[in-house]
Amino acid sequence: MQGFRTLLFKEILRFWKVWFQTILAPLISTLLYLLVFAQVMAGRPTLYPGVTYGAFLIPGLVMMSMLQNAFANTSSSLVQSKVTGNLVFILLTPLSTWEFYWAYVLAAVVRGVLVGSVVWLTAWFFFELPLAHGLWLAIFTLLATIMAGSLGILAGIWAEKFDQMAVWQNFVILPLTFLSGAFYSIHALPPFWAQMTRFNPFFYAIDGFRYGLLGVGDVSPWTSLFVVGTTGLALSWLTLAVLRSGWRLRT
């Protein structure tokens, strides 16, 4: 237990020491999205009565930043440790794959929640934000950051260089977050893209989270719970199996 706690603490300390890049930078870029989109779209009706575009956008942006930062935390930590070689300090210890997995993933959850919270708090100064269903909000926050954190571990194990990480960012994370209904309701999309979005687990994370905050969503929160939950479970299982095999970690 102490070993697990130390690794969790070390992973949190690692991003905390560079909070400028890991908390402040994502906060600013997310607020820029909010500023630009809320300005451009101001006054346009949303599909939900009584919900302004700004209010619609904020939960999408908060969840998007949580997903991206949870992914970034595990993946960049692992790639850095592999490239610099200091992962041996962990591999030489009696830590089990379970402890390794949960320490990395929980640190990703913490980073995601921290970034999400500062985005939400800042937005709260400018927009009136309800809090419809706190429990749904917490559930989707937790499940989505676990899902993205696991994906980050897989990416970090797979990548052997920093530029291979860019492949993930550009071809997996970016399309998934932009085709996720963060900026618009999928009912506003042409049928093909609306259909594509329905295959994207990030969409359900965002839609469920929006339901928790605003009380409205494109699909039922139960559907979202099912998709995000099973995706999270599948990714956790896969990550643990890969860790256990030692693939690309223990030669």
Binding site: T6, F9, K10, S96, T251
Partner: protein, 247 residues
């Protein structure tokens, strides 16, 4: 008494290259053992298998009686490994690095021992320095300190003196010798400096192209070659081996 290190028929290949071709060796508890051999002989590969950093193709490895795969937790608690590569975590100070390493092994309040190690490795004044700011020789000594935080009965050092200047090398060896003689730690080391091995070790094994070609107590080895220099013996063994085992 159980051997500190026990390796049976260890094989490891990288693609078609056989790095270890069935190596067996035993190191009794309290021994000071040198694993020698030219570059690429397989010394680091052997140490990595022992440390659990790499998976052997076949063979059995035990540390203080614990199988390194089946009983990895106990095996890893039994050993402190100083890797050959000069690696460090640039996010942390020396003390943070050592506290974190202690924590991985379940040790919370380890500062007395950490201070003791830092003092003996002449790093006390660098305790609060960030790892990035240290010289190569200092980083190497932090690596040694990291391997010692959990007071492992077996200490494995893969070329620990590479890049460390002469004076520090002396004090470093004094410390390792003290750990061996006063506190009974078993030492396995690889080094390029044969005079160091000669001055320190009780037993040596010579590895060549993945096979052990000589293994004996140092003074026996010198005696049987009528020599008083390990370097002479080393060269003789590597050549003799060529003529005897030729295709």
């Amino acid at each position: 008494m159980q051997p500190a290190i026990e390796i049976q028929h260890l094989r490891k290949s990288f693609g078609s290259m056989q790095a270890l071709k069935g190596v067996s060796l035993q190191v009794p508890q309290g021994d000071f053992f040198a694993l020698l051999g030219p570059n690429g002989a397989g010394k680091t590969t052997l140490i990595n298998a022992l440390a659990g950093l790499s998976r052997p193709d076949s063979g059995v490895l035990r540390l203080m009686g614990h199988d390194v795969l089946k009983d990895y937790r106990a095996a890893r608690r039994s050993v402190g490994v100083v890797p050959q590569e000069l690696v460090f975590d640039p996010f942390f100070t020396v003390r943070e690095t050592l506290r974190i390493q202690s924590g991985y092994f379940g040790l919370r309040h380890n500062d007395d021992w950490i201070d003791d190690i830092l003092f003996n490795l002449q790093l006390a004044d660098k305790a609060e320095a960030n790892m990035r700011t240290l010289s190569g020789g200092m980083k190497r000594r932090v690596l040694i300190a990291q391997a010692l935080v959990h007071r492992p009965p077996v200490i494995v050092l893969d070329e620990p003196t590479a890049g460390v200047d002469v004076e520090l090398r002396q004090s470093l060896w004094k410390f390792i010798q003290r750990l061996n003689q006063k506190e009974g730690h078993t030492i396995l080391l690889t080094t390029h400096y044969l005079d160091e091995a000669e001055a320190l070790c009780r037993r040596v094994a010579i590895l060549k192209q993945g096979q052990i070609v000589a293994m004996d107590e140092l003074h026996h080895l010198l005696q049987s070659y009528h020599s008083d220099s390990l370097e002479e013996v080393f060269v003789a063994i590597l050549h003799q081996d060529e003529s005897v085992r030729g295709p």
